[in-house]
Symmetry: C2
C-alpha cells in the first residue's frame, strides 16, 4: 500500500458537502480512487466504441462524430465556438468539417450581424445521423440507469460535473443547458 501513493501527498482538502469526512477518509480514498481511473478508462472505451461501427459505414471517424454532435446540439454555432469546445486547431477541424459539409451533413450560413461568421447547422441528413449515433449511447446510458437505482442519473450527473475543470464547469453547463433549450424548444 505504501508504494502506491508513496505518501506523496494526502490532499488536505475536505471540501464543502455534507459528509466531508474530515481527514479520516483520506488514507483509504487516496488509494481507492484507482478503481475510478480504470473504470473510467473501460467505460469510456465501450461508450465511444458503440458509434464507431456505424461511423465505419460512412467512412467517418470519431472526429466527425464529435463535430456533428455539437453542431446538431447547437444550431447556428460559430466555428470558433466549435474549436473551443473540441480543443483542437482550426486546421484539424477544417478537414473533417469540409467532409461533413461536402457530403451534406452540415451547412454553413453567413452570420446575419457579422458576415464574417459561418454559422453551422446540421441538415436533416446530419441530424438523422447524429441522432442515430446518440441513440446508441443513450441506450447504453439508460440501460445502466435501469440497472441502478432511481437516484443514479442525478448521481452520475453530479459526479461527472465535479470531474470537469472548475474553470470550464460553468461554461460547460451553460453550453449543455443552451443546447437543451435549442433542441427542445427549437
Amino acid at each position: 500500500m505504501a508504494d502506491i501513493n508513496s505518501n506523496a501527498k494526502i490532499p488536505p482538502q475536505n471540501g464543502a458537502g455534507e459528509g466531508a469526512t474530515a481527514a479520516g477518509a483520506q488514507p483509504r480514498d487516496a488509494e481507492a480512487a484507482w478503481d475510478i481511473i480504470e473504470l473510467l478508462f473501460f467505460a469510456y472505451r465501450d461508450f465511444v466504441g458503440d458509434p464507431d461501427a456505424v461511423l465505419l459505414k460512412y467512412a467517418f471517424g470519431r472526429a466527425h462524430h464529435r463535430v456533428l454532435h455539437f453542431v446538431n446540439r447547437n444550431p447556428g454555432m460559430k466555428v470558433a465556438d466549435l474549436l473551443d469546445i473540441l480543443n483542437i486547431t482550426k486546421q484539424s477541424l477544417g478537414r473533417v468539417l469540409k467532409q461533413l459539409i461536402d457530403q451534406g451533413f452540415i451547412v454553413q450560413k453567413e452570420g446575419a450581424q457579422d458576415r464574417r461568421q459561418r454559422l453551422l447547422y446540421a441538415t436533416a441528413k446530419g441530424e438523422a445521423l447524429s441522432l442515430k449515433l446518440a441513440h446508441l449511447q443513450t441506450e447504453r446510458i439508460n440501460r445502466a440507469f435501469g440497472e441502478l437505482g432511481p437516484g443514479a442519473h442525478e448521481a452520475a450527473r453530479r459526479f461527472l460535473t465535479a470531474m470537469i475543470d472548475s474553470d470550464n464547469r460553468e461554461g460547460v453547463l451553460r453550453q449543455i443547458a443552451r443546447a437543451d433549450r435549442a433542441k427542445t424548444r427549437g
Copy 2:
C-alpha cells in the same frame, strides 16, 4: 445543479413522473441522457488532459501512459494480456512498448514456466512516472468526491461499472481486483 436540464422535455413515452423507479426504469430520460453524453465527453477530456502536460516532457503520449499504467498495476503481465486490455494490435503496442523498454521504464523477463512469454514489469523509474501520472488523476477524483457527499464514490463506481459492456464487465472487475491485490500485497 438540478436546473441543468430544466425538465423541459415532454417525451410522450410514459407517464412515469419524477420517480420513474422500478428495475425497468423506463425513463422519460430517453432524452435526458443527452446530458450524460456530453458530461462524459468533457469529464473524460479533462481527466486525460491532466497527464498530457507531464507526458510531453518525456516525449510520451497517451499510448505510453496506458501501457505503463497497466503494466505497473499488473506486474508480470503477459504481452497478450496487455493487448486484450488495450484492444490494439501487437504492432501498435510494439512501438510504444519498445520505447518504454529502451528508456528504462519497463523491463521484460522470460516466463518461468513458459519461456516464450515476456513478462512485463515496471522499473522503479517506470513506477515513479506511473504514480506521478496517476496522482494527477486521483487528485481530480478525490477533489470531486470531496465536493460531493459520502456516497459519491460508491455511486460513481456503480455507474461506471454499469456503463461497461456486460460481457467485459466481469473480466474488468476481476482485472481491477487482481491489480489491487498485486499492488497492495505485492
